[in-house]
Subunit: 335 residues, 2 copies
């Protein structure tokens, strides 16, 4: 069960995850660096710019942690972890082109430095390298999990694009988008980690569910944070999703429950890259009136609880506790 943390602990669960996976992650990071290399200079320049830009590498850490949970040496999990991070980074490169994003992780997006064209092609390169690393493990079942994830992720991105600015988008549409574009990669990262760690069918299924639900919760929190989170604290990038016309749950619920006038206020700002800070503030006020940020976070909690429940099927261990704490921490970051 989720409990509110009243006092900040000295080490966050993410810090503890970092510490526990440190030795294996050093191997993962070395592999990532070496596989981002190429005699074509633009490839490592652009790839490393993104890869070294301070992402916390949550997905590959989860792969390693899942392998450790089942006790078997992490061997091929190293390759899968690096492959998962490459898949994620390839997606980020393509997403920034598709979303016309200027910034990523507090720095100018790669496309602002090397251009859209290079971002598309280096994304393709990272995807190809990801598959090469998977193939080297010769583990065809894990390859099945990751290749399916790759196709589903792209499908989810197309679905999100098709729904951009579509006022009739339903909560079910949204649930499908976040599952496909975000949760499936978390699921695959945890599932192949468990497989590499020697999990049986039940263990594999538990970690797949854990990853899927963590990913769903993670994205819901992200989408609430884009409007300031529960506290509604407005920051520099508040409302980016609104300006891009992204149909996330806070806006879908506000459109459903809002008055005619409120709907008009939202519709006027939705998908307008030049929407003013005042317009964003007005939309967030509507969301607060209808409690849609809190309700979005409630759904995140539901997914987080489902992730934690999936772990309960497994024997108790320090790692199991840590993975459960990671979920809690990921959801609580929105408060």
């Amino acid at each position: 069960m989720l409990t509110q943390i009243k006092e900040a602990p000295v080490a966050t669960p993410i810090d503890r995850l970092l510490a526990t996976t440190q030795a294996d992650m050093a191997e993962v990071n070395a592999l990532i660096l070496s596989r981002a290399n190429s005699h074509v200079e633009m490839v490592p320049e652009l790839a490393r710019y993104l890869i070294d830009s301070g992402g916390k590498r949550l997905r590959p850490m989860l792969t390693i942690a899942a392998a450790q949970l089942f006790g078997k040496g992490t061997g091929i999990a190293i390759n899968f972890a690096a492959a998962v991070e490459f898949m994620h980074n390839a997606t980020l490169l393509h997403d920034d082109v598709v979303d016309e994003s200027d910034m990523r992780r507090g720095k100018p997006a790669a496309r602002m430095v090397w251009g859209n064209k290079a971002s598309i092609l280096v994304g393709d390169f990272l995807l190809g390298q990801a598959f090469m690393m998977m193939v080297e493990t010769r583990d065809i079942d894990s390859l099945g999990v990751l290749s399916a994830a790759s196709a589903v992720m792209a499908e989810g991105e197309v679905f999100q694009l098709a729904k951009t600015g579509d006022l009739t988008t339903t909560p079910a549409d949204y649930a499908e988008v976040i599952r496909a574009k975000t949760a499936v990669l978390f699921q695959a990262a945890c599932e192949v980690g468990a497989m590499a760690g020697g999990a049986d069918a039940a263990g594999r299924a538990a970690l797949a569910t854990y990853g899927l639900e963590l990913g769903n919760g993670f994205q819901l929190v992200d989408d609430a944070l884009d409007y300031g989170g529960q506290a509604g604290t407005l920051g520099k990038n508040t409302g980016d999703d609104l300006r891009e016309g992204k149909m996330t749950l806070p806006v879908i619920l506000a459109l459903t429950d809002g008055s005619e006038a409120e709907r008009a206020t939202i519709a006027a700002a939705l998908g307008d890259p030049d929407a003013t800070q005042d317009q964003v503030t007005a939309v967030v006020a509507i969301m607060e009136r209808h409690n849609t940020l809190a309700r979005t976070l409630e759904q995140a909690h539901d997914h987080a609880r489902a992730a934690q429940r999936a772990l309960e099927a497994l024997p108790a261990s320090e790692m199991r506790t840590l993975l459960s704490d990671v979920v809690e921490f990921s959801v609580l970051r929105a408060y």
Copy 2:
């Protein structure tokens, strides 16, 4: 040895290849259609628009033909053939965005109908589906061949992009670009076909070389045709590569051998999307003065001969003859 065909035969080698592979290609085409499907409507709409646009499906036909050459039932070759075609189409979608191309196979490019964003994402989807089809064969060695091809192709595209408009590009740079962006997929298509057909190591190597050299010859011919081919016949799209700043062999050789004034004429038009037909005509005249189209086609011939020589290591058969004729036909189309 290549011989000039004096009278057009009733059926071209491509027609004969179509006839020989027809039954298997019906299965490949059905698989292609079914795997381009998705409940996200934009995916099959865009994918089929490209896939049904009259490409001759040379690459998957070569996979099937290579499998047939070694006599074993084509079973998993069907999956590899469809995967190769998906990889090719994913590349076309991304290339058209990168090159800002308006037309593809005589129709508006998909990006002109659905936009750049959808073209990027549906390309990613096709790539993911390609890997899923490969994984279903559970043939890890063929997966190694195709995943390596995927990474090398993207690397080649980045290299080509980095060299765009670069007057110092060498013939060796060019050779590397066409090997990576074009020839490696022909190589992989033929190699995995041979593997699926039950080829031994020598047979596999022969077909890999055949595909690689055919692909190199194919791209050299394409690049000569962009300037009108041997005959220098100017058409509607003559000089597209010039306007895009693509450093292909005809232009590289003309820059090397041209006078100061000729180099200036070329440099003025290179990479200028608004270069006039007169400018293109002037550049082609320089190419003819220095014989660079003929010399490009000579290199295509050399590769074609190397492809044919690779086949000579194998026992004589009708299919071997046909594959040899396909090479000849592909190169002669430039006259």
